[in-house]
């Protein structure tokens, strides 16, 4: 189980502190898939970084009773000056896995061929996305945190990612953050909507979807 209790997150700005998350509560049980909807800048990525432990809340408690992934996204968490394989080795070392027996999977899934031995900064965004996703699947977690993972890549690659994530790892908990309500509806059982720093909970994605679009209409 993951539990967030009374989470507040403030960031300093030149105009004084800005409250991004306002008294947010969230519980995710093993095997549960929870979506978080929100417009750009609503605090979705902040929330997922707090769940992962990459950032600490200003106030409130984050408890993790199961293993939780880093926020899987198609940017971040990689070093551009290192090669694809060196990035794999680094991730394996910090999570205590043996990199050498993961290489065949990475070669097969990423389809990067000889580029795996070239610096990541020489990759196209599509190549980076393939590497990032492939490395993300190397370490197993009870709960995967997914941040806008559909943003890059072609249809065939989406298909492969979906298979790895939602079929092979269908029994894991997931928190999926997106501004695309269709993606959340497809993959989640329930969802929350972030508006003005507050997380509104809905027991089914349909109600979340309706609320999200009403809020969007109000602001428009």
């Amino acid at each position: 189980m993951i539990r967030l209790a009374n989470i507040n997150k403030l960031y300093p700005t030149r105009g004084g502190p800005v409250r991004i998350l306002n008294d947010v509560n969230l519980t995710v049980n093993p095997g549960e898939r929870v979506g978080i909807l929100g417009r750009n800048g609503a605090g979705k990525s902040t929330l997922i970084r707090l769940v992962s432990g990459a950032e600490l809340p200003s106030t409130g408690v984050v408890e993790r009773h199961m293993s939780v992934s880093w926020p899987l996204a198609f940017g971040g968490a990689f070093q551009g000056t290192l090669t694809g394989l060196d990035n794999l080795r680094f991730i394996c070392r910090i999570y205590g896995a043996d990199p050498e027996d993961k290489i065949p999977f990475i070669e097969d899934f990423s389809e990067l061929g000889i580029y795996l031995r070239e610096p990541v900064k020489s990759y196209s965004s599509g190549m980076r996305a393939r590497l990032a996703f492939a490395i993300s699947m190397v370490i197993e977690f009870d709960c995967f945190l997914i941040d806008e993972i559909i943003a890059v890549g072609d249809a065939r690659f989406h298909e492969k990612c979906s298979h790895e994530l939602f079929e092979k790892r269908g029994d894991r908990a997931m928190i999926i953050v997106s501004h695309d309500s269709g993606y959340i509806r497809e993959h989640c059982a329930r969802a929350g909507v972030l508006v003005a720093g507050q997380l509104h909970h809905f027991d089914n994605t349909e109600d979340a979807f309706t609320f999200y679009h009403e809020e969007a209409a109000l602001l428009a």
Binding site: Y11, P12, R49, S52, G53, A54, E55, L56, P57, S58, T59, G60, V61, V62, E63, R64, H65, V68, W70, P71, G76, A77, F78, Q79, T81, L82, D86, R89, F90, I91, R93, I94, Y95, G96
Partner: protein, 268 residues
Amino acid sequence: MSANDESVGVSLADSWRIERRVIWALMLREILTRYGRHNIGFLWLFVEPMLFTLMVTALWTATKAVHGSNLPIVAFAVTGYSSVLLWRNMPSRCVKALEPNLSLLYHRNVRPVDIFISRLALEAAGATMSFAFLILFFHFVGWLEYPEDFLQVVAAWGMLAWFGGGLALFIGALSERSETIEKLWHPAAYILFPLSGAGFLVDALPVEAQHFVLLLPMVHGVEFLREGFFGSKIIAHYDIGYMALLNTLLTVLGLAQLRVVSRTVVPE
């Protein structure tokens, strides 16, 4: 205000295992990004400081810069300049150390303190290997006598490394909170070099000047090191208790600043 972040069920032994794993991974990553796999690769870690020390040794030998003593110039330069590299490179590597590594902070187990510790360990290892190889090499060609008190040299080297590490944590953490620190560190490091005791013996200075330079902790370390090296040939001025006190102060302040940074840092 209180905030908690806990992964329940992680014991102290687990934390220690994770900590070692993360620091080792960061060190390997740092070696690869700094030196790559081209030409001599990671050997640059100590070849670079060796070249520095060799050039200064050559310069001081050529100009007969014995700085008020009749000590053998090569041993004088090697002990002096190696000490400078030890305490000065650590802070230099830790200034703005987080920025290029922000993306790594996406991984919960990688904390800012780990990035600092991995850099400190690398710098200390490089400077130590350089110092050791130079002593062996110059002894082999007959330009340098082995230290009179080997253990005292090791202890002094440890004190200088501790000073460098404490200063690095303090300056490094502050540089994450204020841009100004980076600007101030470079001139400070430049002016501290001639005052650090690397190029003179405290005993050769006028008494007024002695009081002044002995305010600087690294001077005590260099004097202690040289006494271990040359023993009875010099009169050394040092107070290791004073140095330990300032080292402790720097370390505690550095860790406190780093704690603030850890709470506020945003992964890229």
